[in-house]
Amino acid sequence: MNIIRFLSDVLLYTSPILFCTVGGLFAYRANIVNIGLEGMMYFGGLASVLAIFFTQSLFLGIIVGMVISAAIGVLFSYFSVNKNANFIITGLGINLLATAAGKYILVEMGLTEINLINIDRVVDLGVDLPLIGRLPFLGGILSGHTPFTYLSLLAVFAAWAVLYRTPVGVYVRVCGDNEDAGVSLGIPTAKIKYFAVILGAVFCGFAGYNVTVEQLASFTPSFTDGIGFIAIAAIYCGDGKPLKSSLYAFLFGAAKSLAINLAVTYGSIAILLKMIPYLAIVVVLFAVEGVKHSRTNIRGISHV
């Protein structure tokens, strides 16, 4: 296994998880568990690919992806904030709707996947970093990634800054920790929740763009591969804190990179290695939550 390749792939596979993690934790901190991350990512990716396929414009791809995923965010928040829906089921409904819509569109177009390989700018989106790119070892790991991969790293710090350094971020946390306190001071908590969910949805849309356009240069009906749920696991493990959750996202990205890089070496059981990330996450969740659980003397189990 090539160690540089492995580490570079860690970054590659972590970035969509990172986007979804950052996206999910805003809602999580506002006391809404968004199970629909996967679907939002799916819609974002699908919309971006379609836009690029028909217009050949990367820029329009990004914009359309953002708009569509934000629209799904609006739908989700309308259901869970205004309509008091069971947001777990709303989220699962969005996930199912996403795959169903993707497959339906493919069938209508008479394709098994939407390929962007022929659009020349999509094939080579890698950015060679100045200075860092010329470093030995580090250059090979850090340089040559696509713009949204770098953006995902910035997103973590942006999320941290918004959550802890702006009034809106404080209000998001107020929604989660004591909504009544916010209401009594006239903070528009419903709007804040909308903001948290929609912002999160846009981040998930970025994850979709990152995977479909930048990594695969195509849309295939199962491209999300559980990334949304992996992000939820990262959020749970990291208590919804941006930096801590991102650390877990990296851990899970590393598991995926390991599985894929090992698969190159082992031919026949390569397919089995694909299980590693999912099993690793279950083990990590068990370890983290188990430790939390062992610390409490209070008996009983609550929902979600």
Binding site: T166, V170, N178, A181, L185, G186, I187, R299, G300
Partner: protein
């Protein structure tokens, strides 16, 4: 000069008048007390003043102008602030963040000679503003502490600061002393006097008449949603107010003879019991006690001194970290709730709708909960519907539970009647030992009397009772012995026959001669 005037304020909930044609006014820079029983309509009136409720009829005037509040924000804008009985604070934020919440101080930069506001918080400036307020009113607070680490008294100060930061002139306090120790109450009164000196007008809602006499300038008495009388405090007495409030003598009519025989055998023993919260604090710290047959042991204390956790451990909802619990000699430490009930221990939990009852379920199912394993209600895994309904009807009859539809859900019951379901369920199963936590909290006077009588009857049947309550009068009138809990330990044990309120109050504040 009148700063607030209510003109014929009426507020209806369905067919029920919570407030009926209330005329009431507050003079500028006075301390006004609004007194009345539980459910008399005080809180509704204050919620109308604070914009949380809109009046059905009538209106409110502030400084002579008619106002129409639709939210607390309107009230704050008209310089009316409120400190709720249950604080509206965010535990995970600091004092500074809580005070500034919703009106944050943002950072600015100088751009070409003009100052531009950034969308970012300025911690430094925010901190300075909060510190300035803290100093002006002489509070003892650190702006950078997390609110969850503060004592109750300090939290109340944060609430006050929150309002002062919004430069309100009129402060409404809802039952401000309910959760304070006697010391904290003195401290709170000092703050009130300080506020008054600075020109603020203060309204306190309370049912503690001693405090009314101590602090207020004038009093308004409310009964059944209507104003009975408004009077200057200097011209009235505690006795007169009590009569106005209840319409009869307020002394609790049920009183134990406090004559438990010291030679009765021990039923329930706790030895050196401790437990810790998730963050590692030892909230119950090596407590020991025993309860004898025919005895009511009272545990008094200000809320938050470990009683809740003690009850949770004793009722099987929390593990103990050390110590033993015995029932008639048998070790039952850390038994699960079912094991406790199997050993004839009845439990009246502290939080009625969390641990005692399920709002969404039927009355019948609530009546058997905890005893649903008994062969009387269940055989071979199937529930006996008819027997369950019989049992429900029996409880309704024996415990005088007032209900419109016996087949309906529990949520249609009033607090008092809901509590009677728990009491009926636990007592009709004939326990040898009863844990009664805050048995009359939020219950109307009639039901309180009934519950007290029932508990005393249990004592007469030579059963053992552990009574945990923050209501001093309840503890004093029912118990044989009283243990006072302070910071997770028992600071002292006193004989209920010859202890005074004052002595108990000092002990509750942690003062022992």
């Amino acid at each position: 000069m009148e700063i607030i005037r209510c003109v014929g304020v009426t507020r209806k909930f369905g067919d029920f008048y919570a407030n009926k044609n209330i005329h009431f006014s507050v003079a500028e820079n006075e301390i006004k007390a609004v007194v009345g029983e539980n459910g008399a309509g005080k809180t509704t009136l204050m919620n109308v003043l604070y914009g949380l409720l809109e009046p059905t009829n009538g209106h409110v005037e502030v400084r002579g102008d008619r106002v129409n509040f639709t939210s607390p924000v309107d009230a704050i804008r008209a310089s009316i602030g409120m400190v709720h009985q249950h604080f509206k604070l965010v535990p995970t934020l600091t004092v500074r963040e809580n005070v500034l919440l919703g009106a944050e101080v943002k950072g600015t930069i100088n751009l070409a000679g003009r100052s531009v506001t950034l969308p970012l918080l300025s911690r430094r400036k925010g901190r300075a503003k909060v510190l300035e307020l803290i100093e002006r009113f002489g509070f003892d607070l650190d702006p950078d502490t997390l609110v969850r680490d503060l004592s109750v008294g300090a939290k109340q100060k944060v609430e006050i600061l929150k309002m002062l930061y919004r430069s309100v002139d009129i402060l409404i306090f809802d039952e401000p002393t309910a959760v304070l120790t006697p010391q904290e109450i003195d401290d709170f009164f000092d703050s009130l006097r300080q506020l008054k000196k600075q020109g603020k007008t203060i309204i306190i809602i309370t049912h503690k008449l001693k405090e009314v006499m101590m602090i207020s300038d004038s009093v308004t008495v409310i009964k059944k949603g209507e104003v009975v009388k408004s009077i200057e405090t200097a011209k009235t007495s505690e006795r007169e107010l009590a009569q106005l409030m209840v319409g009869r003598d307020v002394l609790l009519s049920v009183e134990s003879d406090h004559s438990a025989s010291p030679n009765n055998p021990l039923v329930y023993e706790v030895e050196n019991l401790s437990t810790r919260t998730d963050d590692g604090r030892k909230v119950v710290d090596g407590v020991s006690f025993g309860v004898k047959e025919g005895e009511i042991l009272g545990i008094a204390g200000v809320e938050g001194n470990g009683q809740s956790e003690l009850i949770r451990v004793l009722s099987g909802l929390m593990r103990s970290t050390e110590g033993t619990v015995r029932m008639r000699g048998e070790d039952i430490t850390n038994s699960w709730p079912r094991g406790l009930r199997d050993r004839r221990i009845g439990i009246i939990p502290e939080e009625r709708y969390v641990h005692g009852l399920c709002r969404e379920m039927t009355l019948a199912h609530n009546c058997i909960a905890g005893y649903h394993y008994n062969s009387e209600f269940c055989s071979r895994g199937l529930m006996k519907r008819r027997a369950i309904e019989h049992w429900r009807d029996r409880l309704i009859e024996d415990f005088d539970i007032r209900i419109s539809d016996a087949g309906g859900q529990l949520s249609s019951l009033s607090g008092g009647n809901a509590q009677k379901i728990i009491i009926g369920r636990e007592l009709e199963s004939n326990p040898d030992f009863l844990i009664a936590a805050q048995p009359t909290r939020g219950v109307d006077i009639g039901a309180i009397e009934f519950i007290h009588t029932t508990i005393l009857a249990l004592r007469k049947k030579r059963k053992a009772v552990l009574l945990v309550s923050t209501e001093l009068s309840e503890i004093m009138s029912l118990s044989d012995r009283i243990l006072v809990m302070y910071r997770g330990r028992f600071i002292d044990e006193v004989d209920a026959r010859n202890v005074t309120r004052g002595e108990l109050g000092l002990l509750m504040a942690g003062v022992k001669e």
